[in-house]
Symmetry: C2
Subunit: 253 residues, 2 copies
């Protein structure tokens, strides 16, 4: 952590911007000025949304950058006949679509999975933010590269892993990503997605997803109850998934 980060966090436990700072700082050691700039930018235009709200739709004009402060969301694409694929999960601290204003329209939709708090930046605000401090600009670039790497890993998941591996792999990934932003308590974390959502991220039917979860439970690897997930044997879960965390590019520094 940069010299001032600890101090800036002290006494601000409920501080909404914290996850964004933690996340970006995990990619690039942020300067004190950079941290302050991010905090200031994140406080400009804070919005809330309930669960199940589509905050951006395929075809919409793409001109808004969003920093997600709390809650979960996802990107998905729907086919005409109702099939749906979730192509990424958006967690607290994630920033969506830096530089997106260079494209004309959204090619997918963003849907909240829980009630969320996020802050919106328009092009001018975002460009001001990244031009103020080089560590901030680099951190946003890193985040974009890492997000892309995650989406590629999902392609591997969907194309070449069987149901058990897919589900185990996603769980390992979420564990790591949530840990960075302080959302993991021991080996448990809030897991607020429905089985239908999880089926659409793993490319499975809800029925088979349910059976796969039961398999993981029966093997003693996880407990999932009341929207809370506990990993009982991380090593075993990782090896069941053939999980290698390199692609997350955490703790670059």
């Amino acid at each position: 952590m940069p010299g001032g980060l600890g101090k800036m966090l002290a006494g601000r436990e409920s501080d909404q911007e914290q996850s964004v700072v933690l996340r970006l700082n995990s990619y690039r050691r942020l300067s004190d000025a950079g941290v302050a700039a991010i905090r200031a930018a994140a406080r400009e235009r804070v919005l809330k949304a309930g669960a199940g709200e589509e905050i951006a739709g395929e075809g919409d004009r793409a001109d808004t950058i969003r920093m997600f402060l709390s809650g979960w969301a996802c990107r998905y694409k729907a086919l005409e006949d109702g099939r749906r694929q979730i192509v990424s999960l958006i967690l607290p601290g994630d920033t969506c679509d830096a530089h997106i204003y260079l494209l004309s329209t959204m090619d997918h939709s963003i849907l909240t999975l829980t009630p969320i708090v996020y802050s919106e930046l328009d092009r001018a605000a975002f460009e001001r933010l990244i031009s103020a401090d080089i560590t901030v600009a680099e951190a946003f670039h890193c985040e974009m590269l890492a997000a892309r790497a995650v989406e590629r890993e999902w392609a591997v998941n969907l194309g070449r892993r069987d149901a058990l591996e897919r589900v185990a792999h996603i769980i390992c990934e979420l564990y790591e990503r949530l840990r960075v932003v302080g959302q993991v308590d021991g080996s448990s974390f809030a897991f607020p997605v429905t089985q239908m959502d999880l089926a659409d991220t793993t490319g499975l039917s809800t029925v088979h997803l349910n059976r796969t979860l039961q398999e993981l439970r029966a093997a003693g690897l996880i407990t999932l109850r009341d929207r809370n997930l506990t990993i009982h044997d991380l090593q075993a879960l990782r090896s069941a998934a053939m999980f290698n965390p390199n692609y997350l590019h955490l703790d670059q520094k």
Copy 2:
């Protein structure tokens, strides 16, 4: 095209940098100075590689930006047990991994599928290039955003489309992407990938991929012979794939 682009292309038919300029210019109208800067940068360090060469491996230091001038390559990830997923196809004119030097290591490998010519830029050269001209910087950003969108579409392909749709979809995509860089002749284009490669991009077995291709041939949609693919009925192929080209973000301007 910008005022000078036509002129600059004139009389340089065999010009290797042309595809890169065409590609970037399709995202962002490049200034004459920008075109010149790209051409100059692309001539600095030109390399060749044969078919089937791994020009970058998972775990390697990530510090080189590559502009692909001719030939096809792919990114892939291999699992320990030999399963392999191709996560993107790299076509002439594509630039790989702008800003990649911000990450420490490659999380996947790059493999040539045909003999290729490409040019390498180190961090300094790339930063010089994008800081010289705003249209160039924006074009590279656009390309990165579009490449990411393509990777997301592949996740949809792998997760929610059946074999016939997957193969038809990839073919539609390649047709559009190659058209932009002038590699399509009528409704035919060079298609230099083996069925094994195509199986690894569509998440199918070679056997089933072969049968799927035959199905497309039997339906009169395509001919694939001698590494050359012809689309006989683009409308029908598109509707079989439920193909919507929006995600390619071509011709933004």
